[in-house]
Symmetry: C2
Amino acid sequence: MDFKNLSTQYKNELLDNVVPFWLNKSQDQEFGGYFTCLDREGNVYDTDKFIWLQAREVWLFSMLYNRVEQKPEWLECARQGGEFLKLYGHDGNYNWYFSLTKEGKPLIQPYNIFSYTFAAMAFAQLGLATGSDEYTHIAKATYDRILERQINPKGRYNKAVPGTRNLKNFALPMIMCNLNLEMEHILGKEFVEQSAEKLIDEVMNVFYRPELGLIVENVNADGSFSDTFDGRLLNPGHAIEAMWFIMDLAERMNKKDIITKASQITLQTLEHGWDQEHGGIFYFMDAKNHPPQQLEWDQKLWWVHLETLISTLKSYRLTGSQESLKWFEKVHEYTWAHFKDTQHPEWFGYLNRRGEVSLSLKGGKWKGCFHVPRGLYQVWKELEIS
Amino acid sequence: MDFKNLSTQYKNELLDNVVPFWLNKSQDQEFGGYFTCLDREGNVYDTDKFIWLQAREVWLFSMLYNRVEQKPEWLECARQGGEFLKLYGHDGNYNWYFSLTKEGKPLIQPYNIFSYTFAAMAFAQLGLATGSDEYTHIAKATYDRILERQINPKGRYNKAVPGTRNLKNFALPMIMCNLNLEMEHILGKEFVEQSAEKLIDEVMNVFYRPELGLIVENVNADGSFSDTFDGRLLNPGHAIEAMWFIMDLAERMNKKDIITKASQITLQTLEHGWDQEHGGIFYFMDAKNHPPQQLEWDQKLWWVHLETLISTLKSYRLTGSQESLKWFEKVHEYTWAHFKDTQHPEWFGYLNRRGEVSLSLKGGKWKGCFHVPRGLYQVWKELEIS
């Protein structure tokens, strides 16, 4: 592979195709914030505003401003979204709603802790971009709420009867690996280093099951395997995404053994999650090969493949593993062949098992200005320094 | 079509294939109740017990005992499931949990009102089968809970912020059309007749939208169309199933105009929901042809097709519509060709858009001893009297 040409390919796709799409199509000029429900050509088909995606777009444009180029239109795009979130996104006490109407009226209560994590990430990066203490304060106050809620993230919306089957979920420790690095300038070196030990242990020794060679989505509260639908659930894309968060954290902490292990888990997950028949990575699987509950289990999702490009490439740069490079090339081929829309800007998100487009939207309730541009940015930069 | 041969085909499939499968494979001899997570051959792959499916199997075996033949093993199968539900299925006050462990420990809180409706239906039919006042009392007490909860069915688990977008959902009035007839011996003639007016109005004049010619899953509290993801959501199988509930109710009330309208809505929904490319009926659609949120939107589900067989055949018997008979034949061909497992008992539940098996399970969290045997029974009987 010619890394120089490839790096240019990712950079150009990011700056000439994907970023202009969101900059021009998603901003709500009337009420602020962003429309994320955009059809194949970028037309708005629904106006609800989902906090995950509002926050992620604030983060993305702040990040581009901070790390790529100080373009005033990027800063303004991030800032206006941050203002909308600041005014309407929470209940006054940094409990972040799940969704709002286009005017900013709350639709769905603050039941989802990832609305908080993406808000914290957004305001931390926006604080850096603007130098505003107010935004940095919002990031810190939101982070405090996350710590308060982390024991029972769903709070009063938790439908599990206490005591029968107490499970803990992989997503929060996984996201915290990334969020703590994003917020180190606010949280401080000591806090990040101390938390890292616990987070790495949780991801690599509790949710990673050596008997399977895989990461599961849920374990019993005592850390043991739960032979239930939730306990057997595998989400290969999730596990692989977590591995680049772990590699970043381990690089920051200078823990080579953890980098090696994360690289191995990436490869093991790919071997297990790759669809031998049609190509691409499955969305959900069952650790014992029972039928999963998720009807969409065999679909091929954009974020799974973009995150895999990042993890395999970081693994190659940090360990020199040729196996990682081979997988990067294989997933690169699949991803560009199937997810890139060659007729209209931005990428498809949802393919069926055969790799055919199942939903032609460019954005919706879950797909917004995040995984495609973050993935393109990360791969561009990794290729530059590899 | 030779209705006599066809009737025998449905009867034999019910009594020689499907009923023995559940009778022999699903009963938990140790703790009582039923395992519903059964793989293609009928082996148990998960032991959680979901109240919807526990109650539906109690209902099905009671119904067979009451309407087909007084087989002691059918009654015992229903009775032991009823005992398990009576002891473990609710909180002591007929608030029905969503799921239990195999031993009967509650797993998921009583957040779902359809656990209540299926429990009421089960105990009403079991009361008839056994002559037990205790079971009939449980059915009545549960029905009272449903009436108390119907304004806000999700109760404290409702995540919608009050006041912003108050929607009401189609499923409850739809199910009540059927449940009231199932429970007329308990609720009384007068109650059923009075409720029927309101229920028929709700289904046929509020959730049915003449401008679309279709039934939507959610409307605003004032009965107007909501141009949102929830408001645009179509579930063709749901709408078509409701039409045979309405036809039954209208037949009971001797309302010929309602029968005619229900027959028309069935046909309109089929025309709209039929996949012209691959055959079969879509699972979810958007009333304005925007992308739906449900990733499984284009899958072909067993219950959709079985319910359609019932509705088209009732429509034919009650109105003489040749169009209904044509659709019955078309859906009959598709259903037997794609859902029936010719190598192992019972039917597949989940096909992809092309009609290929996506999950080979015979039962799971949502598929149990219900739509296949109820559909076979209903079609058998309709063919007999047509």
